[in-house]
């Protein structure tokens, strides 16, 4: 269907991206509308948590995006280092702020869920803590792009950092889980896994799909911007040289 290899060419990518973007936007808007309707009107309040369970419909997709975006970032970084495909580093760069934003949203909505359920805005719950650390990883990644002026150096440094971070994410997750089981206060309500009622699962999945669609739309916009910024930079340099 799509010749992926040719998409690595910036010019071809831009034509493709501009054609896909409106469709992606429409699909995302539809998914979001359906998802919001399902999660606010259709889904029943949880028998234990009441209506606070609805926070899950934005919290879990945000957390999903936080992890998903980091994976995309690391994948793109690896591709950039290995195959030197021109768009990879820019993809990672364009994705990072999206991931950081959703990480922050996951933390904030988590706090809003925690307050009525646990009686406190923040607990050093394994998940919350891991997500907080993930947020720092995003900040570091974005900071290194900021700190280095030269494009190639910035791109490769950021890529190495993204990969080092990616190797570390499971280790951090594992250690935080371990740490947490040692310090876990026994009263904390378990929110995870298969205990979620099926009537809550459909809206959740629709919302996850909607968030993923939103990610694609935003990534296409941001990536085009990065590509154009690179072109502008090259043009400027060519003109400065005379």
């Amino acid at each position: 269907m799509v010749n992926w290899h040719r998409l690595a060419n910036p010019k071809l990518f831009l034509t493709w991206s501009r054609r896909v973007l409106p469709w992606a936007a429409v699909i995302t808007a539809l998914l979001l509308a359906v998802g919001l309707y399902l999660s606010l009107f259709v889904a029943p309040p949880d028998y234990q948590q009441g209506d606070t369970v609805r926070i899950m419909f934005v919290h879990v997709p945000s957390a999903w995006m936080a992890l998903f975006t980091y994976t995309v970032m690391a994948g793109a970084s690896a591709a950039g280092l290995i195959w030197k495909s021109p768009l990879s580093h820019l993809t990672a760069k364009a994705a990072a702020p999206i991931g950081a934003s959703f990480t922050l949203l996951a933390l904030a909505t988590g706090a809003l869920w925690g307050q009525p359920m646990w009686g406190t805005w923040w607990v050093w719950d394994a998940r919350l803590t891991s997500v907080l650390i993930l947020f720092f990883l995003y900040l570091g990644y974005m900071a290194i792009w900021q700190a280095i002026d030269d494009y190639t150096r910035a791109a490769k440094s950021a890529a190495i950092l993204a990969l080092v971070g990616f190797v570390n994410v499971p280790i951090i997750k594992f250690s935080v889980d371990w740490w947490n089981t040692l310090h876990q206060p026994a009263s904390v309500l378990r929110l995870d896994g298969p205990s979620i009622h099926p009537t809550l699962l459909t809206p959740l999945f629709v919302m996850i799909a909607a968030f993923t669609g939103y990610f694609i739309v935003l990534l296409l916009i941001r990536l085009e911007r990065e590509i154009l910024a690179r072109q502008a930079q090259t043009l400027r340099r060519a003109q400065a040289r005379g």
Partner: protein, 65 residues
């Protein structure tokens, strides 16, 4: 009317449910608007640069970029 109030009340958890949704909505909208505005600005810059390049070559003037 009553059902609307009931809906907004969120079983007493309105103060937690709505801020969560609103926060997500604000951040997602803001990100979209920012990115889109940046893209439009970049498109304009690029057009300007291309234009200047064209005229700059015929006029033979150096550009300050």
């Amino acid at each position: 009317m009553e059902s609307a109030v009931q809906f907004l009340d969120m079983g007493g958890y309105a103060l937690f449910v709505w801020p969560a949704f609103i926060m997500v909505a604000i951040v997602m909208t803001a990100l979209l608007i920012w990115s889109w505005r940046d893209l439009r600005r970049e498109r304009q810059t690029l057009e300007l640069l291309a234009e200047r390049r064209g005229s700059g070559e015929t006029a033979g003037t150096g550009n300050d970029a």
